[in-house]
């Protein structure tokens, strides 16, 4: 008996040691905070697949925060040979392996992880160096003005004629102080107001986009419709942050100058409107991306509309409108939930929302592949037209978009509307001149600080103080916050 026990104890101890040593060596230490309210999935970054021990440039490391670009790449890049079953790598026809590293975006997490990796770029092994990373409008300038992105024209090799068909604003925002173009994008992101046709009919008597637009063409009329909707038992907006972008994109000063945060008067208008809507019950008190907000976009929601930009419509709204999600076998067709029950109009104010740019990292060893990726996905009219037709994403190609706008392109999801036409009208008016490097932190901290105010937990002064506290924690180099009179 004693011997048996000794053997058992030894075996168990060995098993435990092996187990812990496997865990220690196998996984990379990971601190991604789990965000319950984030719809977009986010998987921990992993270094699992060993890169083929071949010559330099055999691994293309792409850093992203969700699978939007991954899907575009896998579906539309002509050089893709096959995609791994767990989607963590993609193999190209010439043998290059594309490794995807996904870090969640919320709370500056993606930026943090990216910064850490970029700072170590020089000492990283050739196959571990970041080759491509994506940046969002909210923080594009930070990377554009740094040395970690390389010139798309001079170093990658894209020519002016290649880039001629892109919307100018998409190039302006990623042009650094010396005039070098540091990134390129496949999408333009003008914003519209997406409304439920059935609810619009009930409230306004019509669901025709032109007539609905007349009823919503400025903020006073918008507020009026909110009142009407409420009288009929509907909500105008779902959450507190829904209309934020329309206000934050039309400010007159950037968020931060030197080390002072300037809260623009237009943003305070958002605060006033949302407080008003919340008290009068015109909104459903949800928070962007949380479960209630997503449910409101589905067939059981009683919300009239959502402010969405191009990517939002196909990437978020479409999925949320289905009654049976595609994961459970539902199809994206009329009859499945609110598919087909949406339409878009311009809304009370023009705006843009986000946008993703592809940047090449300094120290990359895959320049030729990157040039090809950028050329096909952000400059090639045929491919970009296909992307729009199939996914309904609005691509960064003037000629393709105008072609579609003037064609009889119909979107089944939007009940047969040609929304490209509306987007094409708004796209040239986008002004990104007030974008800055601190935008993501400021936007998120501001919204979070004022949620308490809308809920009635704190008063306006306390909410302002909370914002000041939060922003100074996020960005310790900022010293003061200026509020409008």
């Amino acid at each position: 008996m004693k011997k048996a026990r000794k053997i058992t104890a030894l075996v168990l101890a060995l098993a435990m040691m092996m187990g812990t040593s496997l865990i220690a060596t196998g996984c990379q230490k990971n601190e991604t905070p789990v965000t319950p309210s984030k719809a977009a999935e986010s998987v921990a970054s992993s270094e699992a697949a060993p890169a083929p021990a071949a010559a330099e440039g055999k691994t293309l490391n792409i850093w992203v925060w969700n699978d939007e670009f991954q899907s575009r790449f896998n579906d539309y890049y002509p050089e893709v040979k096959e995609v791994a079953k767990d989607k963590s790598t993609t193999t190209l026809k010439d043998g290059t392996i594309v490794k995807w590293t996904i870090n969640a975006n919320a709370n500056n997490n993606y930026q943090d992880k990216l910064d850490q990796a970029l700072l170590a770029q020089d000492s990283a092994a050739a196959d571990d160096k970041i080759d491509i990373f994506l940046v969002e409008a909210d923080y594009a300038l930070k990377y554009v003005n740094s040395d970690y992105t390389i010139d798309v024209k001079k170093d990658i090799g894209l020519t002016d004629s290649d880039l001629a068909n892109q919307y100018k604003y998409t190039q302006d925002i990623v042009t650094d102080k010396n005039g070098a173009l540091k990134g390129t994008t496949w999408q333009a992101t003008p914003g519209l107001f997406a409304y439920r046709r059935s609810i619009a009919k009930a409230v306004l008597g019509t669901d025709d986009p032109t007539k609905v637009q007349e009823a919503l063409s400025d903020w006073t009329k918008f507020d009026n419709v909110a009142k009407q909707a409420s009288a009929k038992g509907y909500k105008m907006l779902s959450g507190f942050d829904d209309s934020y972008r329309t206000f934050s994109n039309n400010v007159s000063t950037p968020w931060v100058t030197d080390t002072t945060v300037n809260v623009d008067a237009n943003i305070m208008k958002w605060v006033t409107q949302t407080k008003d809507y919340t008290t009068k019950n015109y909104n459903d008190k949800s928070i962007l991306w949380d479960n209630k907000w997503q449910a409101d976009q589905g067939p059981s929601g009683k919300v009239l509309g959502f402010f969405y930009s191009t990517w939002g419509i196909n990437f978020t709204l479409l999925g949320n409108s289905l009654k049976t999600p595609t994961k459970e076998g539902g199809k994206e067709e009329v009859g499945n939930g609110a598919y087909g029950d949406y339409a878009v109009c311009q809304g009370p104010q023009g705006y843009y929302w986000g946008g993703t740019w592809i940047c090449a990292a300094k120290g990359t060893d895959n320049v030729a592949t990157i040039k090809n990726v950028m050329k096909t996905l952000t400059c090639d009219s045929t491919i970009m037209k296909k992307i729009t037709t199939v996914t309904q994403d609005y691509t960064n190609n003037k000629s393709a978009m105008e072609e579609l706008a003037n064609s009889d392109f119909k979107s089944a999801f939007l009940g047969g509307q040609n929304h490209i036409k509306l987007f094409a009208a708004v796209a040239p008016t986008i002004d990104m001149s007030k974008a800055g490097a601190y935008d993501q932190g400021c936007n998120e901290a501001f919204q979070a600080a004022f949620h308490d105010y809308f809920n009635g937990t704190v008063d306006l002064a306390k909410a302002k103080a909370n914002f000041e506290k939060a922003i100074k924690e996020k960005y310790p180099d900022l010293t003061a916050v200026k509020w409008p009179a």
């Binding site: 905070p33 965000t35 319950p36 949800s286 490097a437 924690e473 960005y475 180099d477």
Partner: protein, 317 residues
């Protein structure tokens, strides 16, 4: 004869050597992975050292400026939050654990299915705190099952936003901590109670003591060391509470930072890799922890003298 003396000397030195050799690995690892980082944390708390995007600022020596900023930035509030969250969870925990431990070890009661109950009450401790918090987040959200149930049972007409109210959020966090730890505490206290000499209980019964008297006069005083251990470890754990409130409130400690604990505040500084401020918070937390633990320890162990008195005069009462 001489050979007897020299082996003795050799034996004592040899034993010493082996003793030090066996405890050396622990100390080496402790020094490298705990003591040195502790030292460097305290060291950096006197510096301005953070990362702004892709630039690293510092380290610049600024003396006690970090600590001053700390106290101006509501550190007392976060400390208060942490203590409140801990106490509201700990008091039910210790009461119920004592009760359960007393019942489980009472041979008179002879509860059935004890192993089943012991397993079940310990299970919440095995769940990852983050998964647990996510579960509660979904359960108590505005359109979640709890609100749905309350509405259909007619108790509420509109969903009550648990996570937007101070009492709701703090209550949920304390409740979760309670669920996770009361099993562990029960087992510990059971072990402590079973270590008390049953002869004492028999003697008390013969003298006609009631269950209550036996519990308060015999059990509690004799398990004081274990209770002190439970209190201290719970206090340390409570001061370092992080995962549950972080996940439940998505890092914001809403509403109005009433559920922001010290470590959550520390974590906020880690976003900008602010080693200066983070070091200051850590140092302050360490000092507070040490002071509180000493207080608890001395209260718990000093009363051993007074514990002897009831025993002497117990027979008369």
């Amino acid at each position: 004869m001489q050979s007897e003396n020299s082996p003795k000397k050799k034996k004592s030195i040899r034993y010493d050597k082996w003793g030090y050799l066996f405890i050396a690995p622990f100390f080496i690892i402790f020094i490298v992975f705990s003591l040195i980082p502790l030292g460097s944390t305290v060291y950096f708390s006197f510096f301005q050292y953070f990362r702004q995007g892709l630039k690293i600022i510092g380290p610049n020596f600024i003396g006690l400026a970090n600590f001053v900023k700390l106290f101006q930035a509501d550190l007392p509030q976060y400390l208060g939050n942490t203590l409140i969250l801990w106490i509201v969870g700990f008091i039910p925990q210790i009461i119920i654990s004592l009760l359960l431990a007393a019942w489980f070890t009472n041979e008179r009661l002879h509860l059935r299915g004890q192993s089943f109950f012991k397993t079940v009450i310990y299970m919440p401790n095995l769940i990852m705190a983050s998964a647990f918090a996510m579960l509660f987040f979904t359960l108590f959200s505005d359109n979640g099952p709890v609100n749905g149930f309350l509405q259909s049972a007619g108790i509420l007409s509109e969903p009550f936003s648990f996570l937007s109210s101070v009492i709701g959020t703090r209550g949920l966090i304390s409740f979760m901590n309670f669920l996770m730890w009361f099993g562990n505490t029960t087992i510990l206290l059971m072990a402590a109670i079973m270590g008390v000499d049953p002869g004492l209980y028999e003697a008390a019964e013969i003298d006609g003591a009631s269950f209550n008297q036996m519990f308060w006069r015999i059990t509690i005083p004799l398990i004081r060391p274990i209770m002190a251990y439970v209190m201290i470890t719970s206090l340390i754990g409570g001061l370092q509470m992080f995962d549950v409130p972080q996940i439940l409130t998505n890092g914001f400690g809403t509403p109005d930072r009433t559920s922001t604990t010290m470590i959550m505040y520390l974590n906020n500084h880690m976003y900008s890799k602010n080693f200066g401020m983070a070091g200051a918070v850590s140092t302050v937390l360490f000092l507070i922890c040490a002071v509180l633990c000493f207080i608890v320890y001395f209260i718990m162990t000093r009363d051993d003298d007074s514990a002897k008195k009831p025993r002497k005069g117990g027979a008369h009462k």
